[in-house]
Homo-oligomer: 301 residues x 2
């Protein structure tokens, strides 16, 4: 008998993390392990290596979630996949109310910020910051709180018998979040992917000493090996003021060639760390294109 998969998510059931987990594994038959913080996801995976972790890593509006990069880098866990989700915010409340009945809206600060424009029409509604979107809805249901609303995904409305009293209230519709699927069994997962010839992306972190053109050299070597990039971000290392850290995502067709390129750039970098090798998300940040294009058509530079 096949065991039900378990996925550790930040926040409660009904959150975008649960939506991403189910979409990535393409099944409803997956048990959510609810964690209060991203740190708790990492410690859960370390205690039980059969559990997968789902973590938001970047968003088209706010950029990279740097804290999660740091946790990942320091954890020893690896990325085994990615999923890109269009984020929509719904206003949920106990059934039978309208927005005029609402005096407080509770949600995660990011969700509150992303719906600020909508609430300008309702200055009598207090915006209250909480740890999670979906759990704000659960709290309203559990305590049968009239006059209170939560900003959360539609899945939370279904889960907690709440009514959507305002739909898609996010200011900017071009709001996509990229989630990483992480695991403590990285090696086994990668071997499975390799057998299926499905590894075509990896995420690296490294630092570079202060020296003229040091990044240019690394990128030139990768180009010589026909390795493409789909992300690059530099960060100053606070406390080490002459050094930078770089997060880059590589996309490639030939796994062996990719391994050779790592050997070739290692001497040019410092503390090169492979955060994981996985298969490119078929879904693009664009709402329209949801088809399965060939790798050579994936966006890279």
């Amino acid at each position: 008998m096949k065991q039900t998969k378990k996925a550790a998510i930040q926040g409660g059931g009904g959150s975008n993390h649960e939506i991403a987990a189910k979409a990535y594994f393409n099944t409803e038959d997956i048990e959510m392990v609810e964690c209060n913080t991203f740190e708790e996801i990492f410690s859960t995976l370390k205690k039980d290596s059969s559990v997968y972790g789902i973590i938001a890593i970047e968003n088209t509006l706010v950029g990279s979630i740097l804290q999660n990069y740091t946790l990942l880098k320091d954890s020893g866990l690896v990325i085994i996949g990615e999923y890109k989700l269009r984020i929509k915010h719904q206003l949920l409340a106990l059934p039978g109310q309208s927005i005029e009945d609402i005096t407080e809206v509770h949600s995660h600060p990011m969700a509150l910020a992303q719906c600020a424009e909508f609430f300008k029409q309702y200055p009598h509604i207090k915006m209250i910051s909480r740890d999670d979107t979906a759990l704000s809805g659960k709290w309203i249901r559990d305590n049968q709180l009239k006059g209170m609303a939560a900003i959360a995904p539609q899945l939370a409305a279904e889960k907690y018998d709440l009514e959507i009293i305002a739909k898609d209230i996010e200011t900017n519709k071009r709001n996509f979040t990229r989630f990483l699927i992480i695991s403590d069994k990285g090696k086994i997962e990668v071997e499975e992917l390799l057998v299926a010839n499905k590894v075509n992306k990896s995420s690296l972190v490294f630092s570079l000493p202060h020296s003229e053109g040091s990044l240019s050299k690394v990128l030139s070597v990768l180009a010589f090996y026909n390795i493409n990039l789909s992300k690059i971000q530099s960060l100053p290392i606070v406390g080490h003021e002459w050094e930078y850290m770089f997060y880059i995502d590589l996309v490639f067709d030939d796994y062996n060639r990719y391994l050779q390129s790592l050997d070739a750039i290692r001497p040019l970098t410092k503390n090169l760390k492979n955060l994981g090798e996985y298969h490119v998300c078929k879904r693009s940040f664009d709402t329209v294109s949801n088809d399965n294009r060939s790798l050579s058509e994936q966006k890279t530079f």
Copy 2:
């Protein structure tokens, strides 16, 4: 008689934007033009070109403030300077109260999020999301609200006669924000800086078509011209799924050589736009080093 300088800031007096404005211009004699939103800063500058704008552009914890990059890129205004500020959060309330008296804390969602750890000890305190840090303090003072606190800088405490009831409550002390000083009189400012031989940094935005090694080529050309980088960030252009946008900061010693390098990379890029030429902030992201090192020691790659 010399006119008093005016600086448009986001939020109210006493905010980090005011602190950055005064520190950059190295004077207390500067009039703040308070704006509710970053959009309002840009429209203020377009109406009155004598006003400078101060906008937060990146933070060591949350990364780039992408929305402000977009506003800047579309505005036609230019960067004339930068300032890097260590962010500290104070808990402010009407005098004579202790934290046990507080039932609600009001601030900007980012400040609430950055102090979440502190408030875990006080689960009875509701965290309420507002447009601005300092203005939350002003609102408490104006309405003489006991039991309410605001998260804001020390300057707001001085300005609104509030007491600091908990000091430096930010979870992470390595919290620095880089502010840009923007202006509608970019050309005049740059000419003044050029005369003083003080232009040694610039910010560019461009896109690259999907083609192998396209970024590597641009960086190689810059390296040939001895131009260093101090920042690079790629962003997928939502809606144009095979294209990326890049924000890069260049640092250089020789202004003419820099101009030549722009001509050299232009044919390799698309929509290359110069967001401004200015003088590197002498202050580093590090709290310790506040000395005026020579440019060649500035952090670059």
